[in-house]
Amino acid sequence: MTEPMLPVGYRVIGRTIETHDAVTLGLEPVDRSLDRFRPGQFAMLYAYGVGEIPISISGIGDDGTLLHTVRSVGAVSRALHEAQPGAVIGVRGPFGTTWAPEDAVGNDLVVVAGGVGLAPLRPVLLAALAERSAYHRVVLIAGARTPDDFLFRAEPDVWAASGDLDVVLTVDRPAAGWDGPVGFVTEPLARLQLDPERTVAFLCGPEPMMRFSARVLLRDQVPAERIRVSLERSMKCGIALCGHCQLGPLLVCRDGPVVSHTVAGPLLAVPEL
C-alpha cells in the first residue's frame, strides 16, 4: 500500500440483492490490486463525485476480488448500493485490525451477529469452515428484525445442513412462514452452555447488542480478552491522521474496528464517548 489516501479503481462485477436495502458488491481491480484483506478489516469505498465511507470486507477472493455488503442509509451508501456491474468505484485499504480467527483454533468459536453485523463476520465463518477440523464447536447466532432482513440468506442454511456449524437465526418480528426462533440474540446465547475455558466469541452489530451479548458471555465466565467486538465510528482517513474516529484513547480506524472486550467494555460503558 504505497499511497493510502489514493483510491484504487475497482470494477463492480457482481451485485447481489441481500435485503430491501442491502446489496453485496463483487469488485475486481481495474489495474492493480490492493494488499490482501483479512477478516474484520475494512476498506474506504469511494463513490466518485459523492463521497467515501468505510465498509468492512464481507468476502475475500484469492484472485484479488473483494466482496462488500452495503446498506443504503445515506448519500454515499445509496450511490454504492445502486452501483451496477461495470461501474468503477474507488477503494482504499486494507485498514484496521482483524478478527484473527486463527486465535480461536483449538477452541469453540461463537459468532454473534446482529443485522448487517453479519457481513464483517462472514469471512470468519468461511475461514472456520475452510479449516473446520482446527476448531471444536463453531456456532453462529444471528439476529435480524424480520426474516427478510437476514443477509446471505441461503448460506446459513447450507452451513447448518453440513453439520459443520451450529446455526441459530432469530428474529424480532416473525412473518408468515417463519418457524424459526423469535427473540433477541442473547436468548440463544444464554442457552449455549459454553465451556468458558475454551470459548472465543466474536460480536458484531449495534453497540447495545454487543454490550448485552458480552454481558451474557461474561456472566458465563468467558474472559473479556476472549470476547472481541467490532466498533463503528465515523472513519474518514483510515490511517489515524484525521481523528474523526476517536473513541477515548483509540483511533478506531487504526486500533480497531476489532478490539477485545477488555479494551472496548469500559469505553462502551461511557455514554456519548
Binding site: R145, P181, V182, T186, G205
Partner: protein, 145 residues
C-alpha cells in the same frame, strides 16, 4: 436459564421434593401447551425442542412473540394471581418437557421457605432475563444499525 440453574442451591432432599411435583410430557409439532386466558396451573422445563409463545391478534391470527428452547423455563403465571396465562404456547417440532405442578410447588414453598426462596430467586432471574431481552427488542436495534 438452564435446568442446572433451576436445581442450583438445592440439597439432594430438596431437589427430590421438587421432582416429586413433576412429570414428563411430550408434545407433537403444533400441539398447544396452553391458551391465552386459561388457568395457569403448571410450569415447564423444556428439555428438547422449541415452544412458541403467542397471542391472538385480530386480523393477524396467533402472532408469535417469543420462542423458548432447551433449558428454558416456560410459564410463571401459576405463581401470581389471577393465575391466568397471558400468552398461549405451542410446540414447534417435537417437544419434551418436565412439567411442574404449580399448586404443589406453592405448597412446597410454604412448607419450606428456604426452598421457596431459592425457587423464587431462580424464577426472578428468568423473568429478569426475559424482561431485558424484551426491552432490547423494543429498541428495534437492527433497523438503524
Amino acid at each position: 436459564m438452564s435446568s442446572a440453574g433451576l436445581y442450583d442451591g438445592l440439597s439432594a432432599h430438596e431437589r427430590e421434593a421438587l421432582l416429586r411435583t413433576s412429570h414428563e410430557e411430550f408434545y407433537d409439532d403444533g400441539e398447544r401447551l396452553f391458551d391465552e386466558g386459561g388457568y395457569a396451573g403448571f410450569c415447564w422445563l423444556i428439555r428438547h425442542g422449541r415452544v412458541a409463545l403467542d397471542s391472538t391478534v385480530p386480523g393477524r391470527g396467533q402472532v408469535v412473540v417469543q420462542t423458548l428452547g432447551p433449558g428454558d423455563l416456560l410459564g410463571w403465571s401459576w405463581l401470581i394471581p389471577p393465575y391466568r396465562w397471558h400468552f398461549g404456547a405451542r410446540a414447534v417440532g417435537t417437544v419434551e418437557a418436565t412439567v411442574f405442578d404449580g399448586e404443589q410447588l406453592k405448597a412446597l414453598a410454604d412448607q419450606d421457605p428456604r426452598l421457596g426462596y431459592v425457587l423464587t430467586r431462580h424464577l426472578l432471574g428468568v423473568v429478569l432475563d426475559r424482561l431485558q431481552s424484551t426491552r432490547a427488542r423494543l429498541l428495534d436495534l437492527y433497523s438503524h444499525d
